[in-house]
């Protein structure tokens, strides 16, 4: 007998007891489905992180400066960081201090007290992606430019909330008072949150960091955004920054530098572990499914003892019988695997779009980042292979039992 005939036999056998076949497959369907869903969602998450990184720039290096003691002694002047960039043009292309503060904001008779004011440099806005390092894009006007920062000009970029609430959407070129100083609005950001609300994500203003430090009344900058000249020089740039900060503080705990690549690696490693754990749990149900197949096959062998006896009396060899049952088990789990894959893809797509919507809005990333849960081809192939493998593995024992039946006893069996 050849493989096609065993296959036909298996299909025939499964069709004669559809309900049982389905219930036998259910374990595999659930197991494979779960694995596909987990991998799809994990994959979607990973892609989203990648996109986000892409939009922030793979050559971004974030440096946190904690200082020494309570952080008020040995303040680091931002000028030192600028000098560092000037001294190492081969690895560093720019830096933006990043400070967040609050101040009283007034337009006409209306005051806003919950607006976050970010003090940055022009480096905060990436020309190639036309977005800030936080992923925001401009709706109108322009971002801060070198000259604005250099001369500490009183210009600002408004978040969508203020642009709407204070100016009714027509903010460009208007004046707004920040901490008692009038600023000219040169740009308006596109809305990035779900709703415009006071104190929300869109309730923000970008000004030059010098002006922000003035508002704060302090020179303490805790975060710097460095740009390496390219993705490849990021690691070298990190060393340069670290060396400089160590020279200054003589203490490795006073600062912390991290490249985007490292960050991505860390996130990916964490997600990888989480995914592995989840897949392992899902794989347990595959194992249970396999045991279910073995159980049913054992019952089936007993029920069909007489059939086995007949086949043997007509000339079926041990391997004929063994193959018949192994292929039947393999076919059962393979069909279960295919159904599981389809089921998993369907659920992943539906759940993915639901979760994706929530996730994207909550993580506050720009509109250029999307989330979609799609299974990898590898995951589909491996799932299918594993389910067939499970059927064959767990089908072997019952099949072997059948193959070894003595034809005389088997023929006499009722």
């Amino acid at each position: 007998m050849n493989i096609t005939q065993y296959f036909k036999l298996a299909v025939k056998s499964l069709r004669t007891s559809k309900m049982r076949a389905f219930l036998t497959m259910l374990g595999i369907i659930i197991g494979v489905g779960a694995v596909i869903i987990i991998i799809s969602l994990g994959n979607g998450l990973q892609k989203m992180v990648d996109q986000q990184v892409e939009s922030m720039g793979v050559n971004l290096i974030q440096t946190y400066v904690y200082g020494r003691g309570d952080g008020t002694t040995m303040l680091l002047d931002p000028e030192r960081m600028y000098e560092l960039v000037d001294d190492h043009p081969e690895v560093l292309s720019g830096v933006s201090p990043y400070v967040a503060t609050n101040a009283r904001i007034r337009h006409g008779a209306t005051e806003y007290e919950r607006t976050t004011i970010y003090g940055v440099s022009e480096v905060m806005y990436k020309q190639d992606t036309q977005a800030t390092l936080d992923g925001e894009t401009l709706a109108q006007g322009r971002f801060l430019q070198y000259i604005d920062v250099e001369r500490s000009q009183n210009v600002c970029v408004l978040g969508a909330y203020l642009a709407q609430d204070a100016f009714g959407g027509d903010a460009l070129g208007q004046t707004i008072s920040i901490g008692g100083v009038p600023y000219t609005v040169v740009g308006v950001l596109r809305q990035s949150g779900d709703t415009l609300q006071e104190g929300g994500r869109d309730d923000q203003i970008y000004i030059s960091y010098n002006n922000a430090l003035k508002l704060m009344g302090s020179r303490a900058v805790n975060l710097y955004m460095f740009m390496a000249t390219s993705r490849d020089t990021a690691a070298a740039a990190k060393t340069v920054i670290d060396d400089c900060l160590y020279d200054y503080y003589q203490d490795e705990n006073a600062y912390y530098t991290m490249t985007m690549a490292e960050q991505v690696q860390m996130i990916n490693a964490m997600m990888g572990v989480a995914m592995l754990v989840l897949v392992a749990i899902a794989a347990i149900s595959l194992l249970v499914g396999g045991i279910g197949i073995m159980n049913i096959m054992l019952v089936s062998v007993t029920e069909r003892t007489r059939e086995i006896g007949i086949r043997k009396s007509l000339g079926a060899k041990r391997r004929d019988i063994r193959w018949q049952f192994i292929i039947e088990a393999g076919t059962t789990s393979a069909i279960g695997g295919v159904v599981g894959i389809l089921f998993g893809c369907l659920v992943a797509t539906v759940v993915g779009s639901l979760i994706g919507g929530v996730l994207v809005s909550q993580m506050g990333v720009g509109s250029n980042v999307t989330f979609s849960a799609t299974p990898t081809t590898g995951a589909v192939l491996v799932s299918f292979g594993v389910s067939v493998g499970i059927g064959i593995l767990f089908g072997y024992l019952p099949a072997n039992k059948a193959a070894k039946l003595n034809p005389i006893d088997a023929l006499r069996y009722d």
Binding site: I310, L314, G315, K317, R319
Partner: protein
């Protein structure tokens, strides 16, 4: 050319607790091409064991069995399976058709295990079914046929492989007497057409349809000769145990 079937001094001994049961106790028997032999005996006489050994379903404890000149008494499982496939056609009391396969698929089974391609398989199955007059029922399931028809399907299946020996184990046991006679008539017809038929039965009235009778009792042959001889059907009172296997 030797005998088609040649059993020489065959013993089949089963251990049963501390004792041994001699199911066959030194049986020597030859059957030639074209014979119609009935092996008769009460239950416990050893006729089922004889049928298992002749049918290559079992091997003797000692002694030799040559089928078509080949020593099959020391063969392993798979070799025996091949011999069964090539040389033997079984007809069972319970028909032993596979219920979920159609009539034609059942008849094709021995050809399938012989590795014959699908076209030839179909052709030979249909031809076989024509011989038993059931070609028109080939797409039916066994359960849709009467007992007599099912037995004819099993005869067609036995014939399909073109075997050297047709081995019929109580072929009429599950049939009413009229269809039983039909089936016997069929076996006689096959024999007239040249097939070698070995019939195993406990029933003298059926055994006499054969041309030669081999009577077994307690694992020994107590009569071997022409079916027409009155001694062939005499139940020897002296040794008449009510026997259970």
């Amino acid at each position: 050319m030797g005998h088609l079937i040649e059993l020489k001094d065959v013993y089949k001994i089963y251990p049963m607790g501390d004792e041994e049961v001699h199911a066959l106790d030194g049986v020597s028997l030859t059957i030639d091409q074209g014979e119609f032999v009935a092996i008769v005996g009460q239950s416990g006489s050893g006729k089922s064991t004889a049928m298992n050994i002749i049918g290559c379903l079992d091997v003797p404890t000692s002694g030799t069995y040559h089928l078509g000149g080949i020593d099959v008494s020391t063969m392993g499982d798979d070799q025996q399976a091949e011999i069964r496939n090539r040389m033997l056609g079984f007809i069972f009391q319970q028909y032993n058709l596979i219920p979920k396969l159609t009539v034609q698929e059942n008849v094709e089974l021995p050809l399938l295990y012989a590795g014959i391609g699908s076209e030839e398989r179909h052709a030979r199955a249909v031809e076989s079914l024509e011989r038993v007059g059931l070609a028109d029922k080939r797409r039916h399931l066994p359960s849709q046929l009467s007992g007599g028809q099912q037995q004819r399907v099993s005869i067609a299946r036995a014939l399909a492989g073109n075997p050297s020996v047709i081995l019929a184990d109580e072929p009429t046991g599950a049939l009413d007497s009229r269809t039983g006679r039909e089936v016997l008539g069929f076996l006689q017809k096959l024999n007239r057409e040249g097939d070698t038929v070995v019939l195993i039965t406990h029933d003298n009235s059926i055994a006499v349809k054969a041309r030669r009778i081999v009577r077994l009792q307690d694992g020994r042959i107590i009569y071997d000769g022409d079916a027409g001889d009155p001694r062939a059907v005499v139940q020897p009172e002296a040794c008449g145990e009510e026997a259970g296997a």
